[in-house]
């Protein structure tokens, strides 16, 4: 049997889904053909990966988590306790909070700029006063009587 034909059937050989005669022929070929045998081993590795994945199981807490999830999703009693007007009110309150925050921020910013203006004026005044005093200081110092 040619290698080309053999290689097309390797995946079926691994799965043991060939007829007994065909399987025997292929296995006989693999004994003498290194290339085909390598590819066969490669597919066997793939098959083993799938078998390994199939051995996985759900976590032992699967039902507990599922029950919790189901409870939180489907509880019509909860929606009855929260009629539409409450939900609208919550939205309205949230909107008001946002507006108040914006206005507060605006006012704070305005005060801040006013404060910084005052600060600059105060600084200027300070500087002026310091200058005036410094003139007097020297004069006073010069004329201060010593004992």
């Amino acid at each position: 049997m040619e290698c080309k034909n053999i290689k097309k059937k390797l995946i079926f050989l691994v799965e043991k889904s060939l007829g007994p005669d065909e399987e025997k022929q292929l296995l006989f070929h693999l004994e003498s053909c290194a290339s085909c045998r390598e590819q066969y081993e490669f597919f066997k590795g793939i098959e083993n990966l799938i078998i390994e994945k199939k051995s996985k199981d759900v976590s032992p807490y699967f039902f507990t988590k599922l029950s919790g999830r189901l409870e939180s999703i489907s509880s019509p009693e909860q929606s009855e306790l929260r009629p539409a007007w409450i939900r609208i009110m919550h939205g309205g309150i949230l909107a008001m909070i946002i507006i108040v925050a914006i206005i507060s921020g605006f006012l704070l910013g305005k005060n801040d700029s006013k404060y910084s203006n005052n600060k600059q004026t105060a600084k200027k005044t300070d500087n002026t006063i310091q200058k005036e005093f410094s003139v007097y200081d020297n004069q006073f110092a010069d004329n201060f009587p010593t004992y």
Partner: protein, 192 residues
């Protein structure tokens, strides 16, 4: 509890019936989802959504198919919806979860790459390649292959789930295997 009793119990929101449903199908549903998304955490999340959907929609179940068929259909649809949403990021599954299996080291020995010391790294790459190859299959081939390979469903059961003929299932699975073989061989030739 038989299917009829479970269905009746679910319709009456009986917790015992729901518990029985989950107990009967959780492993199968999990394997179906795992076969599509290749990540245990995600597969578990989707499995929970499947049971929530069954719980929610039991009144819509007409009884013209088996309960298991209906549950598998929901599992397949939920998995495909998940993949559609996470198309970009969920092609590769969490490699760490795969290698937490106690049998991992034994099974790894079957595929040997001469000269390579890090078998774990090789297998990780192989897993990625396998998942990518499965995801690249046409949708119906992917569904048929996954149900056959990961759930061990018979061709007849797959035909019921997919609502197609038995011969169509045989054809889909055969083509899926040939496609996978070709894609995996291309990887193998490129690598070695």
């Amino acid at each position: 509890m038989n299917d009829e009793a479970i269905i009746k119990g679910l319709a009456e929101k009986d917790e015992k019936a729901f518990r029985e449903l989950v107990k009967s199908f959780q492993k199968n549903v999990f394997h179906t989802c795992l076969g599509f998304v290749h990540n245990e955490e995600d597969a578990e999340d989707i499995s929970q959504e499947v049971f929530i959907e069954v719980h929610r929609s039991i009144s819509k179940f007409r009884g013209d198919s088996k309960l298991s068929t209906w549950v598998y259909r929901i599992a397949v649809n939920k998995s495909l919806n998940y993949l559609r949403k996470h198309k970009q990021t969920r092609i590769m599954f969490s490699i760490d979860q795969l290698f937490k299996s106690p049998h991992a080291s034994e099974e790894r020995d079957t595929y040997k790459e001469p000269g390579k010391d890090e078998q774990g790294y090789e297998n990780k790459e192989l897993v990625k390649v396998l998942n990518k190859a499965i995801h690249s299959l046409p949708k119906n081939q992917q569904i048929a292959f996954t149900l056959s390979k990961y759930d061990d469903l018979s061709y007849l059961e797959i035909a019921e789930v997919m609502d197609i003929s038995l011969s169509a299932v045989e054809s889909l699975i055969h083509r899926a295997k040939l496609n996978l073989q070709r894609r995996l061989l291309n990887y193998w030739k490129g690598k070695y």
